[in-house]
């Protein structure tokens, strides 16, 4: 149970570089957030405008999926280094989640 990490003090230049990189990353996060808000607006507008159900349902489900991908990959950093195993388990979870939903909307016997 190693608790201690070997301490590494960054040089000034390295530190400045890292700070810049983090700020750039933060701007990306703002962009993702703007996209999420935009997608949500589209979804609510579509419903309020009263288009055909068969048109709206696939579109809003797709919008939801895009939002979730943004959350997982940008806000939760699922694509970063060291996330390989957790991503595998997350996708296994999504797989089981998918077949559970599929089963209960198709083969529940009324």
């Amino acid at each position: 149970m190693a608790h201690d990490t070997t301490e590494k003090i960054r040089s000034h230049a390295e530190h400045e570089f890292l700070k810049k990189r983090r700020s750039a990353e933060m701007r990306h996060q703002m962009t993702s957030f703007a996209i999420m808000i935009f997608l949500t607006l589209i979804a609510f507008t579509l419903v309020a405008a009263g288009f055909s159900t068969y048109l709206i349902v696939p579109i809003i489900l797709l919008l939801a999926a895009v939002q979730v991908v943004l959350q997982l990959y940008h806000f939760m950093h699922l694509s970063n280094k060291g996330h390989g195993m957790v991503a595998f388990f997350m996708f296994s979870g999504i797989f089981v989640a998918f077949i559970t939903v599929l089963a209960l909307v198709t083969i529940v016997w009324w």
Binding site: M1, A2, H3, M85, F89, S92, G93, F95, V96, I99, T100, A103, L104, T106, I107, V108, W109, W110
Partner: protein, 629 residues
């Protein structure tokens, strides 16, 4: 912590086990409580067989019979088989990967105590107005109609113990992902570690649907919800789906660790490297994956339609392929080996035909039209007892013999072990083989008696006699354990002399820090490699002797579990108007739970260090100490 070895009184030992976070002690707790529930489930099985011994028997009433079959199934699956296997995983897996402990020692202890209190809660139903009586599958249409509180005990008890199992599963996964010793790549992990890994993944993914289903059951029965109440718009098929989405992977949660134990045994007692290690690993993963796509084969007769039945029938048959791969690999491991028929090996060899028989009847039932004939008959009973007793229970008995020296430092008697094996093995086939034919003759399962004119008398009598043999086998095993413990003849690191993996390179039982120095793993069967190269120490070290960090023990896991236990009584009687105290009990229980959780979060727990000097001194004494933490 100047002296690691101390003599302690009984009270101190009990307190030690109540607060321990050491994976080896938690393993012993799992083994003892799992064994206790195994005996209870066994007595229930005997009562069933006594009732069915002859036609028209009135030994048990119909209602009591329903309670006993329900509790027999539930106890054996949730409270006996799974905990005992979790015990072996706890005891052996960290040693096999060269870790000093599991990833979350505190949660490990919490997982055990949740299981323990859940099991006690469930069994208290016997004394508090009747046990659950809707079968271990607890189908909603039966369960909602059940009088009394039996079903409530089932739903709440399994919820509690289910949380414990989920925590255990996450803990093992993280341990294997993060805490393997240097050089221990995934493809060098012993098979038992691999099966622990896949079984834990199944626990992680399969327990949530069960928990949700049980919650629906709790809310329907205790808080007036209508998930399964048809006249209020509910649907009982939802319970069946949720239960079996969990239930089928559950079967693999049980059988995969059993496969792991047998894989270890075949390699050790054939004195040969496992044949087709890679194929065995991928077959294990494939079984885990397919395990999630076959659950509806338990529901063929529900009326899901021919398309759904065809898909699930096909998926079910495909599972036979990776399982067959495993069987052939084991046979080829034995082939040409220098075989030693010690007790574990005898079990392993007996397991192959027994399990294959259960597998073949499984493929028969995968054929949906045939399943319409076999459904709810004794053929099904025979089938699942062949896989569970012929696979899981034989593995548990074999594993107990194999790992007893590693866990307790003494060897179980070979002679008594062989007696147990033969009585149990003969009894098992006698009890269940004949049930195939009872099923084909039309005897339904879960019915408390049968008529003298139905022609089932002789076969049922034979079946009951077999159960007596199994009981004798288990009693001999208990005697064996008592004699061995009293004699207390200590054994060395590698009592089977042919150990291949890291756990056999360290003392039996290991010191509480497992490895004074983290080992460097140089290949599959790492201890065997070192032995073959004449390395007397049994391993190569990856680090010099240094201070070791260890976690502190804690009583909080027990308190948290007790809080849930108390809260469950509040929920259980919530709808009884005669008991106004229920809400208060519910709140008190939850307050205990959340109070303990808060105490855990607010108090820093940084563990302690074993000093280098103590380790060196300890090594001089043989490293065989029982630490006080």
């Amino acid at each position: 912590m100047s002296s690691l070895a101390q003599k302690k009184g009984v009270g101190a030992v009990i307190w030690d086990y109540m607060t321990t976070v050491d994976h080896k002690k938690i393993a012993i707790l799992y083994l003892i409580s799992g064994g206790f529930f195994f005996l209870i489930g066994g007595v229930e099985a005997l009562l069933i067989r006594i009732q069915l011994m002859k036609a028209g028997n009135d030994f048990l009433s119909a209602g009591l019979y329903n309670e006993i079959i329900t509790m027999h199934g539930t106890t054996m699956i949730f409270l006996a088989s799974m905990p005992i296997l979790l015990g072996f995983m706890n005891a052996i897996m960290p040693l096999q990967i060269g870790a000093r402990d599991v990833a979350f020692p505190f949660l490990n202890s919490l997982g055990f105590w949740l299981f323990f209190f859940g099991g006690i809660f469930l069994n208290l139903s016997w004394f508090m107005g009747g046990a659950p009586d809707a079968g271990w599958t607890n189908y909603a249409s039966l369960a909602l109609a059940s009088e009394g509180h039996g079903i409530d005990f089932y739903a709440l008890g399994l919820t509690i113990s289910g949380f414990g199992t989920l925590i255990g599963g996450i803990n093992f996964l993280v341990t294997i992902i993060n805490m393997r010793a240097p050089g221990m790549t995934y493809m060098r992990m012993p098979l038992f570690t691999w099966t622990t890994f896949v079984a834990s993944a199944l626990i992680l993914l399969a327990f949530p649907p069960l928990t949700v289903g049980l919650f629906f059951m709790v809310f329907d029965r205790m808080f007036g919800a209508n998930f399964f109440v048809v006249e209020m718009g509910g649907n009982t098929i939802i319970w069946e789906h949720l239960f079996w989405i969990f239930g089928h992977p559950e079967v693999y949660i049980l059988i995969l660790p059993a496969f792991g134990i047998f894989s270890e045994i075949f390699a050790i007692f054939s004195r040969k490297r496992l044949f087709g290690y890679t194929a065995l690993v991928f077959a294990t993963i494939l079984i885990g994956f397919y395990g999630f796509m076959v659950w509806a084969h338990h529901m063929f007769t529900v009326g899901l339609g021919p398309t759904a039945n065809a898909i699930f029938a096909l998926a079910t048959m495909i599972i036979a392929v990776p399982t067959g791969i495993k069987i052939f690999n084991w046979l080829l491991t034995i082939w040409g080996g220098s075989i030693k028929f010690s007790v574990p090996m005898v079990y392993a060899v007996a397991f192959i035909p027994s399990f294959v028989a259960g597998g073949v009847t499984g493929v028969m039932q995968a054929i949906a039209p045939l399943d319409y004939q076999l459904h709810d008959s004794y053929f099904i009973v025979a089938h699942f007892h062949y896989v569970i007793v012929g696979g899981v229970v034989l593995a548990i008995l074999a594993g107990t013999h194999l790992y007893w020296p590693k866990m307790f430092g003494t060897m179980l008697s070979e002679k008594l072990g062989h007696i147990t094996f033969w009585t149990f093995f003969i009894g098992f086939h006698m009890t269940f083989f004949i049930q195939h034919f009872l099923g084909l003759l039309g005897m339904p399962r879960r019915v408390y008696t049968f008529g003298a004119d139905q022609g089932w008398d002789l076969f049922n009598a034979i079946s009951s006699a077999g159960a007596a043999f199994m009981a004798i086998g288990v009693i001999v095993m208990l005697i064996n354990i008592v004699i061995t413990t009293v004699k207390n003849v200590r054994v060395g690191n590698d009592p089977w002399e042919d150990g291949r993996t890291l756990e056999w390179a360290i003392p039996s039982p290991p010191p509480f820090y497992n490895f004074a120095q983290t080992p460097l793993v140089r290949g599959l069967d790492t201890y065997w490699i070192e032995k073959m190269e004449g390395n007397k120490k049994g391993m190569v070290y990856a680090e010099p002797v240094g201070d070791i960090h260890m976690p502190n023990g804690s009583i909080l896991p027990l308190i948290m579990s007790f809080g849930m236990f108390v809260a469950s009584f509040g929920a259980l009687y919530f709808q009884d108007d005669s008991k106004p105290w229920t809400l208060a009990v519910l709140i008190i229980g939850l307050a205990i739970l959340f109070g303990a959780m808060l105490a855990r979060s607010l108090k820093d727990d940084l563990g302690f260090y074993i000093k280098k000097e103590d380790l060196i001194e300890d090594a001089k004494r043989g490293g065989n100490t029982d630490g006080s933490k």
